[in-house]
Amino acid sequence: MSVGSAMPLADVVSAEALVEPGEGGSRIVLGREPDAVVAPGSIEEVVALLAWAESNSVGVIPVGTGSHLGDRRPPGPYVALSTERLNGVEIYEPADLTLTARSGTRMGDLARVAEEHRQWLPFDPMDVPNRTLGGLASAGVTGPLWAGYGHLRNHVLGMTVVCGDGRVLRLGGRVVKNVAGFDLIKPMVGSRGRLAVITSLTVRLFPLPAVDRVLLLEGAEASSLLPAARAVATAPILPASVVLSVSGDAGSRLLVRLHGARETVDADQRTLESHAGGVFAVAEGSQATEWLTATRDAGADAAIQLSLRALPAQLGALLHVARGPMAGMNQELMADVIEGSVRLAWSGATTDAALVIEELRSGAESLGGTVTVDCCPVGMDPVARSSRLSADAREIGEGVKRIFDPGGVLL
């Protein structure tokens, strides 16, 4: 079958669903341009597209904003399924603290809707306002706020998904506690679109904290802030997030976010200052947002993005590993102090990047940790560059893939 312009998709989906590659929100960097980009406007169109793809041996890659797709290099013809038209809030019950939205809804839009009721979704991965709810779930990323609120995967209460062969599944529900059957939402979150296309999600919201305060310590080197960072991480309170960032030559910052009533936050700040043995600079409101956003989004446009993870107490060693091969390179580094992970972002030549990633991987694995490559230049396989799964996890994972996508349509 010929592909590209010859793909007879006009018979499969509506004209509105057909998108010119590179147009609109379909910023797709997959290592090879898709043969077609389709933006279904309904679950029925998703079903129709997948059924067509399966019967024509065409691959499909679901795409939110395309920020975390990596380079997948599909071997054959494929369609990028953009969720940009699967957009909008379907059900919002502020009194229940739950919200159901279509998967292509931008997090920034959801934040505005929830804020009207003094609620929010406590997720803060890189560039979060511009990413989609479905994309976030697909990538399985929460951001440093997981420390205070738990991971995104624990707050996805329900999902509607279309399997590779067109079966529609409603997983979970709209209630915060639900154990009616095996938890198929968990493998969906973080599956990077390889199991099924998420068309809508129900998530748990939280009340906006009365006070959102950021404590800041600055230092020339990350290593100089490490003792304070670990002191905060082991203090007898649980901050909303604790990150340590290194930005190019601009020095290092330790940012601690505290949420709660004013007197609670005041007391928590005193506790942390006592444990860390120093006095923090303090900000709330726009200044705090500025600090947080600068750290959160540093390196968002970098060609190479990866994360290293070990145990929290190994953060010093992990930072050493992360900084080793990066000497002289202009990179952005952000460590989640509670998790014991380090996110690195930089731009550089593919051959150099391959060597650097190899050194990082070897260093992290020597600590018993892992490396995950989120974004890398065209020509580099992120799976091959990341730490390997155990044979058992791979085999069981393949079993899960088979039950969701028996024809292997989703790439």
Binding site: A95, G150, K177, V179, G181, D183, K186, T234, I237, A267
Partner: protein, 481 residues
């Protein structure tokens, strides 16, 4: 409750495990840890849902991952079903033996293997009792958050199997949020490690999350790694007394809408209050009250009084007759007693108690409770409600006498109507007790056949021959396709 198994004599039901097989099992775990004596097997005939009783053919009690693996290998090679069992406190018949199966219990696997205070992690065997973990980590200033009501007897392995909750999961979440890694024994005795404290790399699916809550249908967790939290500095406990259940329900909504995040919000209704106050557990709740609401805040000491003041204001604004605030640990215990001892107290007013479990959107609680009362009247049954109001998790408790067949039938019909009601308002058939055998036939209320088949397929990934805990969770055969 769909099919209440009646208790019959051991001899009429049980096909003993062949002698040669018993010897093999004894070689692995030791002579006294393979139970075949009919009197001793009776202990294992049910879990916390005693309406279902099946005496197992044998019970095996291994002490390590290696022993579990070898026991499962021997049993599966012989085509014998394995029913995993923790402390047997479950309330859905999840640990109920099968007619042809052997129970593999984790009672001897009760070691806390490691407390890594620096990384706030613990590694333990599945037979460790929930409350013991918190006790053991206390000296490090840490605790394990999920706190099922049975936490003084239930095991972490059982909590993993059921994805257990508890009163404080309103703020802290349920078991799945805290499990970072598992060693599991799968079909044929295969030992597999899932997850780990440093997470999984790219392209890894969350198999730990999939395994948690699989109700023993995928395999047996033999080592569990959990995340610990720092012990909170302070706690404030309030007890609001209301004339009507509706007013208590409105107070819950008002507290949540005010931006507060209580650690727990629990309601008991009038029938429960009366049962408690007539028992040895009397907590001093007024017996003419329509409902009592326990609200608890924890965290940094400095902000707790302000939170409690705000919640108290919400309670009075919604018509609370009185609001008590605990002044010390003993007073706190007293305020909680009416809630925590509710199930025990009901034992004295009826021979049998069916503890139901369902979740509805929180805002639907008032209308659902009214309807449950109507269902009780319709079937001439007393239903006492105890529930986790903050997250809409209901426990309508139906009081009955299992020796009265007519009453038994009414209980089953009322139970099904309550489940249908909860589903109709956007809820589900179980929030924390699991499906087990009790809710298995209600699964079509919340899943269509495509989704049920997906669940069967998920089980086959881990257990292709259907030899782990068959007949639980999913209606219809899992194998044979």
């Amino acid at each position: 409750m769909n099919q209440v198994a009646s208790s019959v004599s051991f001899e009429s039901r049980v096909t003993p495990v062949p002698r040669a097989l018993v010897l093999k099992l004894r070689e692995i775990v030791g002579e006294k840890h393979v139970i075949t004596n009919p009197d001793r097997l009776l202990v294992y005939e049910s879990d916390g849902l005693s309406a279902y009783r099946v005496v197992p053919r044998a019970v095996v009690l291994p002490a390590s991952t290696d022993e579990v693996a070898r026991v499962v290998q021997v049993l599966h090679t012989a085509g014998i079903e394995v029913v995993p069992r923790g402390a047997g406190t479950g309330l859905s018949g999840g640990a109920l033996a099968t007619e042809h199966g052997v129970v593999v219990g984790t009672a001897r696997m009760n070691q806390i293997l490691e407390i890594d205070a620096e990384n706030r992690l613990a590694r333990l065997q599945p037979g460790v009792i929930n409350a013991r973990l918190t006790e053991a980590t206390k000296s490090f200033g840490l605790y394990y958050a999920p706190d099922p009501s049975s936490q003084s007897t239930c095991t972490l392995g059982g909590n993993v199997a059921e994805n257990s909750g508890g009163p404080h999961c309103l703020k802290y979440g349920v078991t799945t949020r805290y499990v970072t890694g598992l060693t599991v024994v799968l079909a044929g005795g295969r030992v597999v490690r899932l997850g780990g404290p440093a997470g999984e790399p790219y392209a890894a699916l969350d198999l730990v999350g999939l395994f948690v809550g699989s109700e023993g249908c995928f395999g047996i967790a033999t080592e569990i790694e959990v995340r610990l939290l720092p012990i909170t500095e302070g706690v404030r406990t309030l007890l609001g007394i209301f004339d009507t259940m509706e007013a208590a329900g409105r107070a819950v909504t008002a507290i949540m809408a005010s931006g507060l995040m209580p650690a727990a919000m629990e309601i008991v209704d009038q029938a429960t209050i009366r049962a408690v106050e007539a028992s040895v557990f009397a907590a001093g709740y007024p017996v003419d009250a329509g409902a009592a609401l326990v609200v608890e805040f924890d965290g940094t000491e400095a902000g707790l009084d302000a939170d409690a003041d705000k919640a108290e204001t919400c309670c009075f604004a919604e018509g609370a007759r009185e609001v008590q605030r605990a002044t010390d640990a003993a007073h706190r215990e007293a305020l909680w007693r009416g809630r925590k001892k509710a199930f025990g107290a009901m034992g004295r007013i009826a021979p049998d108690l069916l503890v139901q479990d369902a979740t509805v959107p929180r805002t639907k609680l008032p209308e659902v409770l009214v309807r449950i009362a109507e269902i009780g009247e319709q079937y001439a049954l007393e239903i006492a409600n105890v529930f986790h109001a903050g997250d809409g998790n209901l426990h309508p408790n139906i009081l009955f006498d299992r020796n009265d067949p007519d009453q038994l039938e009414r209980v089953e019909r009322a139970s099904k109507e309550i489940m249908q009601l909860c589903v109709d308002v956007g809820g589900t058939i179980t929030g924390e007790h699991g499906v087990g055998v009790d809710k298995r036939d209600y699964m079509p209320l919340v899943h269509n056949e495509t989704e049920l088949e997906m669940l069967r397929s998920a089980k086959r990934i881990f257990d292709p021959d259907g030899l782990f805990n068959p007949g639980k969770v999913i209606p219809g055969p899992v194998v044979g396709r």
